[in-house]
Amino acid sequence: MRNAFADELTKLGDKDSRVVMLSGDIGNRLFDKFKAKHPSRFFNCGVAEANMMGVAAGMAMNGLRPVAYTITPFVTTRCLEQIRTDVCYHEVPVTIVAVGAGLAYSGLGPTHHACEDISFLRSIPNMVVICPGDAFEVRAALRASMQQDHPVYIRMGKKGEPVVHAGPLANFQIGKATPVSDGKDVCLLSTGNMLPEAIEAAHKLKERGISAQVVSFHTVKPLDEAYLKDAFGRFKLVATIEEHSLIGGFGAAVSEWLADTRTRNQNFMRFGTPDAFFKKSGEQEYAREMLGLSAHQIAEKIISRAALRRDR
């Protein structure tokens, strides 16, 4: 995802002289092309994220389109007040791009994990929260962000994730879920870098005779309420899947929607990280397995839930 981000940003910067790149001393060589083409619009802001976010807001107040980028916890929780007060309260078009969402940097330890950021950022007024499911969604989200006038948070994985979509997403819209595959029994609403796991889970469900629809629910705020209404009306079971805490994340947002709309929710399941730090060493795949977020675990839980429902 991150290489797609750097490439798309360079393209956007070629066309739009308002695009400015701010990096928190990260992405060695990643932005070489952008720097070469637009040296006056690239700033390494150092390991000083509070200042970087304030600088981004100040630039946006004067008509520029700054993109502030570093590793997820440092570009979110580290400078949360600057995001809230400088960016969102002033409602200026800063695009915050985070790399290493969820457990993408599992091996670096909990200082580099980010399973609370959606919760914090979606509670701030004026903030849009987008969790792209693959590299094409990253490109589309970044383009869409530059075409509107509000603060946007884009939560990326790392690099080298499976590419889900066949090509550029012409119909990508902020706040509109993107269906990936059709199904009729179960609806898997995935946000962010869990999309490949959701697709794999759907394959496993299919082997067991359960037809699952997979949706990239890339925008957590604003929620695509029309899609939710349709999904909860149409499917026997709806599940949210995210690499983020069950507290305050995508599943929590859908739970709030269910409560507020008094939608029947006996057929709802949430997959996410528990209310605990993941302290052991190990890469993302291992962490997902330990936390029950691997495709086969998701499929098994859905099957047992579906069986439970049949027994009744």
């Binding site: 400015v20 006056s40 619009r41 700033f43 802001c45 150092g46 000083a48 509070a50 200042n51 970087m52 976010m53 304030g54 600088v55 981004a56 807001a57 100040g58 630039m59 946006a60 107040m61 004067n62 008509g63 520029l64 700054p66 007040e81 600057q82 007060t85 400088d86 309260y89 002033h90 409602e91």
Partner: protein, 282 residues
């Protein structure tokens, strides 16, 4: 608008500036009384700095508050909002009568400056340590867009406790933002204690100089000197400018000066009369 350097304040102009400062203080005291609002002493402390800015230095036009070429003045010590509101109203950004709505239900003049609500307010402040990073972003945007405006950020001494101030200080120096000027209202008090007994600021000028700024100490109540120093930005040093302005909290009213109770206290009607008399605007 042009950005030609104006001459330092003449004798006559200095006298006029003193009068504006006294009127500004008078308004601030009235507002604090009417609203029973805190931060009176903090507002009086920076009244001469605000006067120098709005009545001499800033290249601004109250009729065009969004002019892209205007100088930016950021009240980073947002708790001195009364001083900013009174100055903006006196300069004609909004009707002077609106000062009567300070802190009142439904008004635009909250205890800290609001975002996108009041003409002339460049940034919502109140949480300390935000104004300078914002100002650096504004200054860089001016450089990118070829707009030769200047950015002035007024910080409190207590605000220098915030790490983000020093992040921004290093950033501004690295980016050679010589069109940025920080004025520190160094009144030696923060909300509940002496500044230097809370976090050691001294030697404050040396700190800013060590962070790569053209830093100098100045009498924060000498409006002429303030006007000249601020008007001189950028000053040819290639560095951002820090003016460490020595001030007295509650300046201008004998029974408020250097008495930190007035950080939170609001004056009675009698005290307003006494204060106005001392300011010579009774």
């Amino acid at each position: 608008m042009n950005v030609a350097v104006r001459k330092p304040a003449t004798q006559a102009e200095a006298g006029a500036l003193k009068l504006y400062a006294a009127q500004l203080r008078g308004k601030i005291i009235e507002m604090s009384h009417a609203a029973q609002a805190a931060h009176l002493a903090s507002s009086l402390s920076c009244a001469d700095i605000v006067t120098a800015a709005y009545w001499h230095v800033l290249n601004v036009n109250p009729g065009r508050p969004d002019d892209p070429l205007r100088d930016r003045f950021i009240l980073s010590k947002g708790h001195a909002a009364a001083a900013l509101y009174a100055a903006l109203a006196m300069k004609g950004y909004f009707p002077i009568e609106e000062l009567n709505t300070y802190c009142k239900d439904g008004g635009r003049l909250a205890e800290h400056p609001p975002a996108n609500l009041l003409p002339g307010v460049e940034a919502a402040t109140g949480s300390l340590g935000h104004g300078l990073p914002l100002g650096c972003g504004m200054a860089l945007s001016g450089r990118i867009k070829g707009e030769a405006f200047r950015v002035f950020a007024l910080l409190s001494d207590g605000e220098n406790n915030e790490g983000s101030v020093w992040e921004a200080a290093m950033f501004a120096a690295a980016q050679k933002l010589d069109n940025v000027c920080v004025i520190v209202d160094y009144n030696k008090w923060q909300a509940t204690a002496r500044s230097n007994e809370t976090l050691m600021l001294a030697p404050l000028r040396d700190k800013w100089a060590a962070f790569g700024w053209d830093a100098r100490e100045i009498d924060g109540h000498d409006i002429g000197a303030l006007a000249e120093a601020m008007q001189g930005v950028p000053n040819g040093s290639g560095k951002p400018v820090a003016l460490i302005a020595h001030t007295i909290k509650g300046k201008g009213v004998s029974f408020m000066e250097d008495d930190n109770n007035w950080h939170y206290r609001a004056p009675t009607a009698d005290e307003v009369v006494k204060a106005h008399k001392e300011l010579g605007i009774a």
